[in-house]
């Protein structure tokens, strides 16, 4: 029988892994209140959490989970944000191992796009990261 892991553990694991990968750049879930004063930072959000349901009345019979989290990288300097995205790609794409205390069997990174927000004065790069989590 397979048991679905806690989604809270997913979020703790993502925060721990991103903090380790991007150190010393600060990492936040969803938003950064201090965006105006920090020259570089990253935010992330988790989505598409789903395990396929198998047949039968027993609830714990499920397949693996393959959620996606989006990383938004921000920097006042274009070179900084490009460096940060390269760090994420080099360290996470194809990675198998521990995210904090959670074992991830494979990490797939997709570099989505590069942008600039004139009002915020921040360069941005967005990446989708899909992780395979065993039950």
């Amino acid at each position: 029988m397979a048991t679905q892991q806690s989604t809270l553990a997913y979020t703790e694991a993502i925060q721990a892994k991103l903090t380790a990968v991007l150190d010393p750049v600060p990492v936040y879930a969803l938003m950064n209140r201090n965006w105006a004063t920090q020259p570089k930072f990253a935010t992330w959000q988790l989505r598409n959490v789903h395990q396929p349901v198998y047949t039968g009345p027993v609830q714990s019979v499920k397949g693996i989970d393959r959620p996606t989290f989006q990383i938004s990288l921000f920097a006042q300097n274009s070179l900084d944000v490009l460096n940060m995205s390269d760090t994420v790609l080099q360290q996470l794409h194809g990675f198998t191992g521990m995210y904090g205390s959670l074992y991830v069997t494979k990490t797939d990174v997709q570099w989505l796009y590069h942008s600039y927000d004139d009002k915020l004065g921040l360069h941005q790069i967005f990446l989708d990261v899909t992780i395979d989590i065993p039950t």
């Binding site: 029988m1 397979a2 198998y54 027993v58 693996i64």
Partner: protein, 164 residues
């Protein structure tokens, strides 16, 4: 009341197997006895299968044609039970999958399997004896690893029962 009287979704079906490495398969009478079958259909004996494959019996006919007659005839003959190829999520330490693996390598272990379907009130059971004829691990990286095996039911060894 006891026999489900509704059109059931496929998710209501589950597959169970008799435990232990050297089981004594149920007799044909026991396969149709609710108390015997329901005692085996417990969560510890459930196989974590993706879906229940088609079960029942295959078609088999003898065709007759006579020169000069416009219509021929098809007579049902000995129909083999339908073989069931089952896909299960592969947990290498799943006790039930280890029994299936052993059965497949042996090829001669007769074991009772049970398919249940419930509407929440009543449950119908289809119990049969079978041997496992295939065991493969499909570790394609796009999804969870699967254990795929085929159950070949023995001819005539089946029974239907339902909650009294």
């Amino acid at each position: 009341m006891a026999l489900p009287a509704k059109v059931l979704p496929g998710f209501s079906a589950a597959l169970y197997m008799q435990p232990t490495a050297s089981p004594t398969a149920l007799t044909t009478a026991a396969l149709a006895t609710y108390a015997t079958v329901s005692a085996l259909a417990i969560s510890a004996n459930q196989l974590s299968v993706e879906a229940i494959p088609a079960f029942g019996q295959d078609d088999a006919v003898a065709s007759f044609s006579v020169a000069g007659q416009r219509q021929s005839d098809k007579i049902p003959t000995q129909a083999a039970p339908a073989s069931m190829t089952v896909t299960s999520a592969w947990n290498p330490s799943d006790a039930n999958l280890l029994l299936i693996r052993g059965d497949a390598y042996s090829g001669t272990v007769d074991r009772t399997f049970i398919i249940s379907a419930t509407d929440g009130t009543g449950t119908v059971y289809y119990a049969f004896n079978g041997r496992v004829g295939e065991f493969k691990i499909d570790a394609q990286p796009g999804a969870e690893a699967k254990a795929v095996f085929t159950i070949h039911p023995r001819g005539g060894q089946y029974g239907w029962s339902n909650t009294p």
